[in-house]
Amino acid sequence: MSKEKDYIIKVEHLNKHFISGGNDIEVLRDINLQIKHGEFVTIVGHSGCGKSTLLKIMCGLVSYEDGVVERNGHAVDGPGPRCGMVFQEHRLLPWLKIKDNVGFGLKGLPKEQREALVKEHLELVGLKGFENSYPHQLSGGMSQRAAIARGLANNPTILLLDEPFGALDALTRIQMQKEITRIQREQGTTMVMVTHDIDEAIVLGDRIVVMSARPGQIKDIITVETRGQGHMRNSDEFTYYKKKIYGYLFEDAQEEQYEVEYMI
């Protein structure tokens, strides 16, 4: 049982329902997932399958009824300072300047230290010089990068990223992928990233969690053996993983289509 400690996140038999408008919606079914320190886990799945919900449960923003969710060996019962989250929408507060948004989670630090941290992280995401701008003055991609800076600023041991590069153009996206890999290597931050970009999931993930359509279940967890070897994107292995993931998701797509037809 000494291995238990290796896991920063442990999810066992997690089920999640939402009651919405009198309807009981089953969102997650029997999720089992362990995440090791320093690991990079990516999650792919259809829209609405509960990926965001899973991340929010992990960081303590959404409650759960059944199952076990532990962070650092303790049952999750609320957000913790060392668990960061980058939301699907950037969620910068419109009334705060970028520097105050990035420093939003920095509490109890002397002013200079706080400013230094903010500056460091703005530079990290390529937003130097935008300290005093307001969010509405930034483009979608820049806002997303500011949100990433906010997530990293208080040096979390684990960072949950919910489609963080969704609003970025292909070029910036690849840059940010490199950047996040670098940060993860340098700081040893454990990362869990939801993405709808299968290439991204393969390039970044040590392991890829493939989820089924709602109710979200884990179809497979694929371990990427050759992660970080640069030539990934056009290797045979890459194609192999890609086909495999498409296969899983396509199964669902067909089921979904059937469901839709049935409903009509």
């Binding site: 957000p79 913790g80 507060l93 009334w95 989670g105 509490k107």
Partner: protein, 251 residues
Amino acid sequence: MKTIVRKTIVALIIPIILILAWFYATTRGNIPDGILPSISKVWQAFLEMVESGQLQGDLLVSLSRVVKGYLCSIVFGVVLGALIGMSRTMKELLFPLITVIRQIPIIAWIPLIILWAGIGEESKVVIIVMAAFFPILVNTENGISQTPESYREVAKLYKLSQWKTFTKVYLPHAIPQILVGLKLGLGTSWMAVVAAELIAATSGIGYRMSDARSLMRADVVIVCMLVIGLIGIVMDKLLGSLFSLFTPWKK
């Protein structure tokens, strides 16, 4: 630019017709001064009132009442509105009652307030507070309670204290709406002071009107009415122009 010129011209059509009709009625017609004085008579009354300092004096009295009552209602309205907006229990406890009380027009409060607070300064201030309090309260409550869950979640994620969550998330979100409440509140307090002074007062612009009515001085009544309207517009615009100072994050 052209649209502004056009708008101004269009907006002026009816006022000009009214003024011409007034002019025509009082020069050709046979209307007694006590009912409708001529434009020149009204103008003259205005000049007299300004020269004697009476108009300024009346306005000063009324405006100082407004300032007192308005400031009180801002404090009460914003604090209570924020509390109700933040707490479900407070809302369930107080909102139904507030909704019922709001249905009573401010004029209908005046007799009771006079019975309780007399016809002195206090009763005027109380009437103004009653008038401005509700729009400020309701708008503050609205702005606070409509803070999106997504922003609240950010505060929750970073474990901000209740107070910090209020000052960094709820309050800034509510500010535009609070400003709307402040604007409405200022308008209603100005109306309320005039109403209160019309009914029971020995000073102020409203008192001047009821005094002039008993003297059959329709010219003075009309001067007061026009000045009241003008001051209302000026206050509204002044407050409106301050808004951008409170919301620097909006363009």
